[in-house]
């Protein structure tokens, strides 16, 4: 059975403006009256909001209650469809539904229900605070779930490792026609490049130096291209290699527009070799080279904003992602993959490290989520044509303390250090917003080349060398 897209309601973000209902009434009933909408937002006495809308049940009671075969669940989309021609207006479906998801529209004289507007719900588009969200995670299960995992089983990552999750998802999506560069770090450390003459992947993989990952990969890509083979050149590098000693060659490859997909797994340090600091380690963080004691109180410099530096290279595509937001991650992976066919694509994925950051392994995704929700990590994407765009709102973050408290590496922080971090985050947010604002002042993305109205990158025709 396939998974389905769904409209989610985040009551905490709802301000009760009612624009969703008006948008629905306009789209479905050519009316401005919220009474004609197929969803209803209601406030209780305490001012909390509830949503009434069809839940597109997996085992729909309305369908079983229909004597006229006028309701049926569409197996492909999951939407419960209503057939006006067959309906006899008996209203028995409204008896079957416990959620008032299908109800009589008195003005229309028949029942109405949400049909998700065929995949582009008007209510979601109208919801500025983001309380209504159209979740397309189902695509990951339905499409990516059927793809082959191109890493072997039994890699020896730490328990609860986020990096293993990232690389398995990435390679299964990027596919078998790929050559992987895995410079020193956790990726080869857990066995991805293999042991004793056997590789840990089912695709060609090699182990460059920290310093020459990008140029080696670029060279291989050029050879494949010259031979007329369509191969994706994929780097799975750590933040240390990319931001520190490998930065020069990364910068050069980006500047030359090499057609590679460079994915950086950012676990904020050299975790594989014993948790040393990197230039991506945040201010105040404990590492073995920024210890906590009488003299030292964790790292005394701020983290380098590597993805923003890559924007400075005007790469074909730059984005940040997190495994706590998989639908977003997959969308960006698709776009990066597409962009890498004609230029340099850079994807920066945050990877909380249970071992090096000191938190229970079962909390990994929660930590990843809190990092984003507190604005410690910002999710955005960039193309030269469309500029920089936040893919998740940075307004109304949760308090930073909710993120910091989860991690052993920040346990020692003084209020001054927390204030420093907060200041740094505020500057980060301001910088990204400046980029995004410059973008908003430009003509809308849909009118610019390379970006369709849905925001998807249109792949320019593959150029042949």
């Amino acid at each position: 059975m396939p998974a389905y897209n769904t409209i989610a309601f985040h009551a905490d973000r709802c301000d009760g403006c009612g624009k969703c209902m008006i948008a629905c009434a306009q789209a479905k009933s050519a009316s401005d009256s919220p009474r004609r909408a197929r969803l209803e937002v209601l406030a209780d006495d305490a001012g909390r909001f509830e949503l009434t809308m069809c839940r597109q049940c997996a085992d729909p009671e309305c369908v079983q209650s229909c004597p006229a075969a006028a309701l049926a669940k569409n197996a492909a989309t999951g939407v419960i469809e209503w057939d006006h021609d067959k309906c006899i207006d008996c209203l028995l479906c409204t008896v079957g539904c416990s959620f008032a998801g299908i109800a009589l529209d008195e003005a229309a004289g028949h029942v109405v229900k949400c049909d998700q507007c065929g995949g582009d719900p008007a209510c979601v588009r109208a919801c500025k605070p983001g309380a209504l969200e159209y979740l397309t995670m189902a695509r990951i299960y339905d499409e990516a779930g059927s793809l082959e995992d191109l890493f072997v089983q039994g890699l020896s990552a730490c328990q609860g490792c986020n990096t293993e999750l990232i690389m398995r998802h990435t390679l299964r999506r990027v596919g078998p026609d790929t050559v992987v560069a895995a410079p020193p770090g956790c990726v080869p450390g857990m066995g991805a490049v293999g042991y004793n003459g056997l590789t840990g992947t089912k695709v060609p993989v090699f182990h460059p130096l920290l310093t020459n990952t990008a140029p080696m990969l670029a060279g291989l890509k050029r050879v494949y291209k010259r031979k007329g083979r369509q191969v994706t050149a994929l780097a799975l590098a750590g933040d240390g290699g990319a931001a520190d000693v490998g930065f020069q060659s990364l910068s050069g490859a980006a500047e030359r527009g090499e057609e590679i997909l460079f994915l950086v797994i950012d676990n904020e340090g050299y975790m594989n070799t014993g948790m040393q600091r990197s230039s991506c380690t945040p201010y105040g963080a404990w590492t073995t080279t920024t210890p906590v004691g009488r003299e030292s109180h964790g790292k005394s410099q701020d983290a380098k904003n590597l993805p923003l530096l890559m924007v400075g290279h005007r790469c074909a595509y730059v984005a940040t992602a997190s495994t706590a937001f998989m639908a977003d991650f997959y969308l960006k992976l698709d776009r990066a993959l597409q962009a890498s066919k004609t230029g340099f694509a850079y994807l920066h994925v945050y990877s909380p490290c249970t071992t090096g950051w000191r938190f229970p392994s079962k909390k990994n995704i929660e930590v990843a989520r809190k990092a984003v929700e507190s604005n410690f990590v910002l999710l955005w994407e960039y193309t030269p044509a469309a500029g920089l765009r936040l893919t998740r709102s940075v307004d109304d973050p949760v308090p930073l303390s909710e993120y910091l408290v989860a991690l052993g590496k920040y346990r020692h922080l003084t209020p001054e250090q927390v204030a420093h971090l907060e200041q740094h985050i505020a500057e980060n947010v301001a910088a990204i917003k400046r980029h995004a604002l410059a973008e908003a002042a430009a003509p809308p993305a849909s009118t610019r080349p390379g970006i369709s109205s849905a925001g998807a990158l249109q792949g320019p025709p593959a150029s042949q060398a």
Binding site: Q64, P67, A68, K86, L92, V95, A103
Partner: protein, 417 residues
């Protein structure tokens, strides 16, 4: 002898809900559905629209053959169950074939009651329960100028409206003092009756039929008050009774219907009953009741299916709740729960004859006992849940009484988030 693990007698709402529930947990156990009608499964509720021509029955089947194939179930239509031997678990069909079953569901529904009115057996009359009935009635419609509908229950009212829309002058004859007794009180019934009268349908309530005679080109119905009603078409819609004739000589306990427990099992192990044929616990009283409505058939069918397949998520039947959604002449009436207010209950009623709006709410110890609405939007499914969960509404009483729909939606949305 042919064997089947699950045998379902009947192919309508209760039967299909049971089959669906079985297949959710047991994808492979052999399953056979037998239906007396020759067609694919259809709903009796649809039939008035077949009569009026609004519905093409060929497009309104509840399932297609492919459904049964995919579910790996045998659908045997055009066969009636005529006998069962519970001890040996053998069912006999009207073609003489015999089937051995492990588990049997009786979902044979109900058939029209033919009242013992002298002379009725000597005149032609119609009933409306099967597709055949509906097509016969439909064929008669063009020749019909004056129709008599005997009985103002749901079937009679639906049929009367559709006969009238088909061009006939219709008279409804009802023994009780109001139409739709059991679902609406007298005042609500009057509002509904008015819509019929406005459409030139004559309604004779409190009218007892004494005798029926053949008359030129039709029949004449003699009433207890001395008057008579004549027509060229007579529809008997005087209620229904469970189809249980094939249970004679079995130890399966029957009262008015097949008596079942909270899992829809009959008094005999491995045999269940659900829907119009079953007599199950009432939500409101100790005595088991018949509850011949579609939502009840679906719910009981599902419970029976879950019990038959050993589904551990099974929750027992909480008791039959009267439920009715009734659309007539573009108007809408809804009733959920019991209209019999217990002593001490709070009854809040408002109506407006002008707009034909009506609302009655009965609260018993702060809980919803019943709600009845005409042309007043409420969500019946939400109200049903509130009744059966015995939701305590004391804290929100005022708002609920003022805005039952809004409050109901709020409560259910937060409860079932």
């Amino acid at each position: 002898m042919e064997q089947t693990h699950y045998l379902i007698a009947g192919a309508s709402h209760a039967a299909l809900a049971a089959m669906h529930a079985i297949r959710l947990v047991d994808a492979d156990g052999s399953l056979t559905v037998i239906g007396r009608d020759r067609e694919l499964p259809y709903s009796p509720t649809l039939l008035p629209y077949v009569v009026s021509g609004r519905t093409d029955p060929q497009r309104a089947f509840l399932r297609d053959h492919e459904y049964f194939t995919r579910a790996r179930a045998a659908y045997r239509c055009g066969h009636a169950l005529v006998r069962i031997d519970p001890a040996n678990r053998v069912a006999e069909l009207d073609d003489g074939s015999r089937l051995r079953f492990d588990k049997l569901l009786l979902a044979t529904g109900a058939r029209p009651v033919i009242p013992p009115i002298p002379g009725l057996d000597a005149v032609p009359y119609h009933v409306l329960r099967t597709l055949e009935d509906a097509l016969r009635l439909r064929a008669q419609l063009p020749q019909t100028r004056r129709a008599i509908v005997l009985g103002a229950g749901l079937v009679g009212m639906h049929a009367a409206e559709n006969l009238s829309k088909g061009g006939a002058r219709v008279t409804i004859v009802e023994q009780q003092q109001q139409v739709l007794p059991g679902y609406f009180d007298a005042q609500a019934a009057r509002i509904i009756a008015r819509a019929f009268e406005r459409a030139d349908v004559t309604i004779r309530t409190g009218a007892r039929a004494l005798a029926i005679e053949a008359a030129a080109g039709g029949v004449t119905l003699r009433l207890a008050d001395g008057s008579a009603v004549s027509g060229d078409l007579l529809l008997i819609s005087a209620g229904v009774t469970p189809v249980i004739d094939f249970l004679a000589d079995t130890p399966i306990q029957c009262d008015r219907g097949v008596v079942v427990d909270a899992t829809m099992q009959t008094s005999v192990e491995r045999i269940w009953a659900a829907g119009d044929v079953a007599q199950a616990a009432s939500f409101y009283g100790a005595h088991p009741v018949l509850n011949g409505i579609l939502p009840n058939a679906v719910e009981q069918g599902r419970i029976a299916g879950m019990a038959m397949a050993g589904d551990r998520a099974l929750e027992g039947f909480r008791g039959a709740v009267p439920l009715n959604t009734y659309s007539y002449y573009g108007q809408h009436a809804v009733s959920v729960g019991s209209g019999a207010a217990p002593p001490g209950a709070e009854v809040v009623e408002s109506s407006d004859a002008e707009s034909a709006r009506y609302l009655k709410i009965i609260l018993d110890e702060g809980r919803l006992h019943g709600i009845f609405a005409i042309n007043t939007p409420i969500d019946p499914g939400v109200m049903w849940q509130m009744v059966r969960r015995r939701l305590d509404l004391s804290a929100v009483r005022d708002r609920f009484l003022a805005q039952p729909r809004t409050m109901g939606r709020l409560l259910m949305s937060s409860l079932l988030r």
